[in-house]
């Protein structure tokens, strides 16, 4: 046992300890591995941990005169390709698959000297909001082990909340970073579309998804975003951030105007969530900000548009899993039967549902009514935000309308599951950034605040987030995890 208390340890503090020589990366990594060994049996947030590999990587960082983040551990969502390390996307169809190269974001992490602790659980191919759709079993919320951690990046959220990693990378296609961050009391950043490379991210819905940081603090989120927000020549849609990412200090909000789409809050929002949200508006005012009403009239159609566009892209993106070149293959007498048997055995029910929805939406005769119409709605939603940002600096909403729900509660009701992303989906459709941060507790479970900004406003969002964070004095460690080690 290393004696380092990793519960609630921020990456920034870990970096400080390493640079001050208070511990080595090997000791720090060992402390996290010990913590994983102690609690991940209950939480089930990791799909793959290779202690020897992690310790070897830590020793390699200790052996060089590292700077900045070198030697700080991290966990990666198992949707991110890792060279020579199994990568499953939470699916049976990729069981045992070992990528031949790292995702760009993992490569950036390696260049920064980050030490991977392992790969985290997720809804299969990132399709879900609870991590219950993982083929490898659900992850449990460290705040209440009977509840879901959110999803699809539920494993990446749970490892940080449980003290099993100082921070992690998730992906966000419709809320998959922000909603699990909200359910687990973390900070999560969904970056502007096209500022983080998607190369090596196993594709679900290409036009909607970005990789982003999940962390205990806004400053940690900014530090990790600095690592991954980079230009690349391997993703044609990625040009990197317009300006360097700045790690913010807490401050006042004088001169800032927040917009609140009150009409969106009228239905389906839990009273506790609503109360915490109203309190945060009071905090904003107290810090000098102005609150005004904004309208996002088309955003209520976001759910419908999203569940055409995302499945349409997914139906094509997942076609490559055909049993021919890698992954699962179920033998059959001819190639077409082999495709069918392999995909039937390899994909779970939610993935099959979305492939069928997407295939239908793109089929001759339905293409215009569904896919084309959904793209029109997407344009209108983008225009809604453009219009709103002419009058306000950022928009405030809860991240999710509820706190973490019990495992199994929504599994048989896809529409109820989808509805949990009502406040996050429009952001992906518009391609703009949003920050989710803890916003107090509601019945003992984390509530959350979402700050949505115009494209390339990450630095503003992080600065605003730091101001709220300082006022909230949120305890990032779930009570059950305090004594859990």
């Amino acid at each position: 046992m290393s004696g380092i208390d990793v519960i609630g340890l921020t990456a920034e503090r870990a970096m400080g300890m390493l640079r001050a020589g208070e511990c080595t990366s090997e000791e720090l990594t060992q402390a996290y591995l010990d913590r994983i060994a102690a609690v991940d049996g209950d939480v089930h947030a990791y799909l793959h941990v290779d202690a020897e590999r992690s310790l070897a990587a830590a020793r390699a960082q200790d052996a060089v005169a590292g700077d900045a983040l070198s030697g700080v551990p991290i966990a990666y969502k198992d949707l991110l390709s890792t060279k020579d390390v199994p990568t499953t996307a939470g699916s049976r169809i990729l069981e045992g698959f070992v990528p031949i190269d790292d995702a760009d974001v993992v490569a950036r992490g390696n260049e920064a000297g980050l030490v991977s602790l392992g790969k985290t659980n997720l809804d299969e191919f990132a399709m879900g909001s609870s991590t219950e759709h993982s083929a490898y079993g659900p992850t449990r919320n460290p705040w209440d082990l009977t509840r879901v951690p959110g999803g699809s990046s539920g494993g990446s959220a749970a490892v940080v909340a449980a003290g099993c990693a100082p921070w992690s990378l998730g992906t966000d296609t419709g809320g998959s970073i922000r909603q699990p961050a909200a359910f687990c009391g973390l900070v999560g950043l969904m970056p502007t579309y096209g500022t983080v490379s998607r190369f090596g991210v196993i594709a679900f819905a290409s036009s909607l998804e970005q990789v982003g940081p999940m962390a205990l603090t806004v400053r940690d989120a900014a530090l990790l975003h600095q690592v991954i927000a980079r230009d690349t020549d391997r993703d044609a849609t990625c040009t990197g951030p317009r300006e360097p990412i700045v790690v913010p200090d807490a401050g006042r909000l004088d001169g800032i105007t927040f917009g609140v789409p009150r009409a969106e809050l009228e239905e389906g929002v839990e009273p506790g969530i609503r109360a915490r949200f109203d309190e945060s508006l009071a905090i904003a005012t107290a810090l000098g900000a102005t609150i005004v009403d904004v309208e996002l009239p088309y955003s209520r159609h976001g759910l419908a548009a999203y569940y055409v566009i995302a499945p349409a892209e997914a139906s094509a993106n997942l076609s490559r899993f055909d049993g021919v070149r890698y992954g699962l293959r179920v033998d059959a007498p001819d190639v077409r039967s082999m495709y069918e048997a392999t995909r039937d055995a390899g994909f779970g029910p939610e993935v099959k549902r979305r492939i069928m929805i997407g295939t239908y939406a793109l089929s001759a005769g339905y293409h215009d009514a569904y896919y084309v119409q959904a793209q029109r709605v997407r344009t209108l939603i983008r225009q809604d935000f453009d219009t709103a940002f002419q009058g306000v600096d950022a928009i405030l909403l809860p991240t999710a309308p509820t706190t973490a729900f019990p495992i199994g509660a929504r599994l048989d009701d896809p529409l109820a599951m989808y509805a949990n992303d009502i406040f996050t989906l429009p952001v992906n459709l518009a391609g703009i950034p949003a920050l989710s941060l803890p916003n107090g507790l509601s019945d003992g479970l984390p509530s959350s605040l979402q700050i949505i900004g115009p494209a390339h406003s990450e630095n503003l969002l992080l600065r605003l987030g730091a101001a709220f964070e300082a006022e909230h004095a949120f305890d990032v460690v779930p009570p059950s995890m305090r004594s859990g080690a």
Partner: protein
């Protein structure tokens, strides 16, 4: 237009879909080498094998070459074009979709002119850029074909090769015109250097859409698609066979089914690959991994301005310079030969004489030695020196052919040197010729008598004898004049 295909009141309606593999250094969406004939499955990577998480990045050079082809074919180039996903499951398509273009192709409508006295025009619908599929080899099937095959293997070297698909309107009216059009189109693509267009290696592939209709009708009949005819001759024969088949069906009162057909050149028969009922729904949608391709007018003008002389323009130029159509067409469609010709014409100052040499001695030598014009040891400079000796009367045509052969055999030889070494300068002076004539007339008194008796054709025999006496070096024109003068005196 050549004579249109018309039988029993019906005419042919033919459109082509032409696939051109671009000869870029790397593949369309990854940096793998774009090489034909390498060891199978060596030019592959995460992207072209469609590993999870791999993303395409468009090859800018392939886009540029496609636009050049579009400009050369007279197509409009839209400001914005877009890649789309064309979805189908088959082992030759690792992503199970092909990145292609749908409603916003790189090159739009155009008109292509096949020149000549019986020339015609073909409207082009579009040209779009896509990636080629992998190569399937069906083990155990005859010639690697699927029928009779027990199993298949896939070579992914070819997957991702940049492929430009050029689609025509159904404006072609005979199998021969289909061949003529494709010949000139191929020459155009080769001239701008975008592809080798080698049908044997598959870098040029043509499908034909074929139908018939009553002469004078403006409606189209039901069309069939003939796939992948891999030579000009097979294209012409395949289309001919399909027209005859359709005519037979119509005359028998039977229906023509919309289907895809394969032409077997060894038997001359057509077999069905799939019917319309089995047609794919490709579920196209815009490729979210790639940004739209935009063109600005300035760059387009620069690209257009830097195109080389194109075969159609070259045909017009050579025809106007007085070359006969067949010669002009050969030279127009063979860029290497045409470049040689232009160089030679510049050096000799006479295009027609230069063309006679290129089409005659040079082509015979290139064919015999399997060389391209640029590979010939007889450079335009050496040939021009030879032609100069003919033009100034130093040697005659017979000697010139011998000198040419000597230039081929010895790359160090010069025309003047050969003439001197072999004593090939023509005997043209009156005295020298006079001596020969005297000797020949003395040796053939009967023929002299016959000529003088009115049998003028005997002069041919006497000229021949004189030429023989001179060792082939006599100036034939001068000889004839002198001989006539002597016989008439």
């Amino acid at each position: 237009m050549s004579a249109p295909w018309q039988r029993d009141g019906y005419e042919a309606v033919i459109g082509l879909e032409i696939h051109v593999q671009l000869n870029t250094a790397s593949k369309m969406f990854c940096s793998c080498p774009n090489n034909f004939g390498d060891e199978p499955n060596t030019n592959v990577c995460m992207v072209c094998l469609a590993h999870p998480g791999a993303l395409p990045v468009a090859n800018a050079e392939a886009v540029r070459q496609s636009v050049r082809v579009g400009l050369a074919l007279g197509c409009q180039i839209p400001d914005v074009s877009e890649f789309s996903r064309k979805q189908y499951f088959y082992p030759d398509s690792p992503k199970a979709y092909q990145i292609s273009q749908y409603d916003q192709p790189l090159c739009g409508e155009g008109i292509f002119r096949v020149p000549g006295a019986d020339g015609f025009t073909v409207r082009l619908t579009r040209a779009h850029l896509e990636e080629d599929a992998a190569k399937m080899i069906h083990a155990g099937g005859e010639g690697g074909r699927i029928s009779g095959s027990a199993g298949s293997v896939v070579d992914f070297n070819r997957v991702g090769t940049p492929l430009l698909e050029i689609v025509t309107e159904p404006d072609i009216r005979s199998p021969e015109d289909a061949r003529r059009f494709l010949t000139l189109l191929r020459a155009t693509v080769i001239a701008i250097g975008a592809s080798e267009c080698d049908m044997e290696k598959g870098s040029l592939r043509a499908d034909a859409n074929v139908s018939i209709r009553p002469i004078g009708s403006t409606e189209y009949g039901t069309k069939t698609e003939l796939k992948n005819m891999n030579s000009f001759r097979f294209l012409e024969r395949g289309v001919e066979a399909e027209l005859e088949r359709q005519l037979g069906l119509v005359q028998a009162g039977e229906r023509i089914d919309q289907e895809t057909l394969h032409f077997d050149p060894t038997t001359g028969t057509l077999s069905s690959l799939r019917s319309k009922e089995q047609a794919h729904d490709y579920r196209y949608f815009p490729e979210p991994d790639l940004l739209p391709v935009t063109q600005d007018q300035e760059s387009l003008a620069a690209l257009a301005g830097h195109l080389p002389e194109l075969p159609v323009a070259r045909f017009d130029r050579l025809s106007e310079a007085g070359l006969v159509e067949a010669t002009a067409l050969v030279l127009a469609t063979d860029t290497g030969l045409a470049a040689y010709l232009d160089d030679l014409a510049l050096r000799t100052g006479d295009l027609k004489i230069a063309a006679n040499w290129v089409m005659g001695e040079l082509q015979a030598h290139l064919n015999a030695d399997a060389l391209s014009a640029v590979q010939s040891p007889v450079t335009p400079e050496r040939l021009a020196a030879l032609i100069a000796l003919v033009v100034d009367g130093t040697i005659n045509q017979t000697a010139a052919k011998e000198v040419f052969a000597a230039l081929v055999a010895d790359p160090a030889a010069t025309a003047a040197g050969v003439v001197q070494d072999r004593n090939l300068a023509q005997v043209g002076g009156d005295d020298a010729l006079g001596e020969i004539i005297d000797a020949v007339l003395a040796a053939h008194p009967d023929e002299v008598e016959a000529f003088r008796g009115g049998r003028e054709q005997v002069i041919g025999f006497l000229v021949g004898q004189c030429m023989k006496q001179s060792g082939g070096r006599a100036d034939a024109k001068a000889l004839q004049g002198l001989l006539r003068a002597r016989l008439s005196s």
